[in-house]
Amino acid sequence: MILRQIMRVVHPLRPVTLQKNILAGINGSDSYSTEIKDSVPQEEPTKKNISKAMKAYLERAKEHEDFMQKQREEFQIGKRHLANMMGEDPETFTQDDIDHAIEYLFPSGLYEKKARPLMKPPEEVFPQRKAAEFDESGRPYHFLFYTGKPNYYQVLHDISHHLIELNKFEDSMIRKKIQPDPNLALDLSGYQWIDKESLEEKLVETIGDKDYEYFINCFVRLTAVPYAYKIKDFIFEYTEPLLNQVQTYDAVKPHIDSDGKQFITVYECPRKAARGDVTIRFPGTGKITINNQGITYFEDVQSREQLLFPLIFTDMLNKVDIECNVSGGGPSGQAGALRWGIAWGLRSFVDQDIIEKMRIAGLLTKDYRTRERKKPGQWGARRKFTWKKR
């Protein structure tokens, strides 16, 4: 849940709404994809010819609504209790405060984040359900209702519709002897198709592996059309960006110290078991201090070269002063930690272009690889015991 929340922040491209209104414009009905709350009829229908399916659905919907209502009330009470426990005002107690409180009251070291205690509004905890897909007489709204996966097939239907349209358009352009503009061509680099789980969530339907593969194949074929940029919005709805660059470039503004020098400190630079922090002062003379020692702190040349790497890469070797503290791990790990710290701190003093180059040079990625654990029943991480017949 936490992650999902964050994702929303990271990817503003992705539609935030969870309402299933993708098809609303096409067949003119909007009710099949709305939330339960909106669609559940509040008063009993008076008509006699209400179908059995509708009846069953209404029963289920009411049951669910009652359940959710109960949950909501419980959540509200729980929230107030929690606020009292934390000594804060229950009226202004937000979801963030709840999360803090839970973290504080039930500290959990469980590795799997999903297994940790949480308290979220019931709408987030319990899965969404489809609203009624048929009217009172039992007639489905959607023409693909009987496929069992109407939303999924609707998307495929749309794809084929677009494909036909685009082909027609291309034919007409060829007749006019107009070439497609290469500048406008659809650039999907940096994006990937949404994965199966997100797609399922989006469609509120479970789909099989083969269905997903078919879905991807259809989209690949659609994007191969020269005029695919005309339906950019439709295609990007089903993609997600691979990497959000803005975050890498977002360097912190340097502080000013008492001497009027700019400085920036990077805390918790990790590599293997080593942890360190790096302070970079701008303008400097190229002095480097590691644990109150010079570069001689590292005996081997490789570690020294590691510290040199970000500095020569950005041409900042004699322009900054560096102070580092590092502990834990071995020399190589410590040097790696400091290398990352220096590179990360230097972003504040160089321009965007060089930051991007540094990223491609692999300086801004945290090297989170660690020693693989030994497994029982074998010699080490991978090596097995010598095989003996008996």
Partner: protein, 228 residues
């Protein structure tokens, strides 16, 4: 607390979008991570050819501990260090290879001072790295013999090999030649001699390569066997 998690998440560039991490063999990086391009000039080339745009959306792996953008850093020399390494003792392996380079320089400089002719002097290569490159290039075999069982008989069948494999074999031979010496001679000195010899297209390793080619030639009748 959550503020911090958020920042860490951003910093690490990790793609947590899909909860399932796309596995990439035994690697700890997902398969869409590209390898770092850590040399400045190779980045310049990419910028010129415009391929850098394609990389701008892909996350990069962290540069390894022996990679720097310095001109003195040579990937092939790093590879040689790694092949020489025993039990992860990289400091020793690096020292040996660097001493070997030093010895190459000493031997070549000695030759340089001995020759009196100006033109001959220019002919002598004083760069140990270019000698290493030449030596490895010269020692690369083209074919390899693989035993293939046919009707209960093992045939040594000549098989073409990829460039990567050829390079590995070449370096393996060079290191083995360096280790094959009297106990009074140091490994680094012997390796230096072998490298200089191989760079001049003479010496034991070149002979070994030619022997392999000779054997392949003798067994060329089996060439059509290969995998079934």
């Amino acid at each position: 607390m959550f503020g911090i998690t958020k920042i860490q998440f951003f910093n690490s560039n990790l793609k947590v979008l899909s909860t399932i991490i796309q596995q990439n063999g035994m690697s700890q990086y997902p398969n869409y991570y590209i390898k770092p391009i850590y040399k400045k000039d190779s980045q310049e080339e990419l910028i010129k050819s415009g391929e850098i745009k394609k990389l701008s959306h892909l996350p990069t792996r962290a540069a390894l501990a022996d990679q720097t953008s310095s001109f003195s850093n040579d990937p092939l020399a790093n590879l040689l260090i790694n092949y020489c390494m025993r039990e992860g003792n990289k400091i020793l392996a690096r020292n040996l290879v660097e001493q070997c380079f030093e010895n190459i320089k000493r031997l070549q400089l000695e030759k340089y001072h001995k020759t009196t002719n100006e033109e001959d002097k220019h002919q002598i290569d004083l760069d140990p790295k270019s000698i290493l490159h030449k030596a490895i290039e010269n020692c690369k075999p083209i074919l390899q013999l693989t035993p293939i069982k046919r009707g209960g008989v093992r045939y040594q069948v000549p098989v073409p090999i990829t460039d990567k494999k050829a390079q590995f074999i070449s370096m393996k031979w060079l290191i083995a030649a360096g280790q094959e010496k009297e106990s009074t001679v140091r490994f680094n000195l012997q390796l230096a001699r072998e490298l200089i010899d191989a760079a001049n297209n003479t010496g034991r390793v070149i002979k070994k390569k030619q022997d392999l080619h000779r054997q392949c030639e003798a067994n060329r009748a089996y060439a059509h066997y290969r995998w079934s």
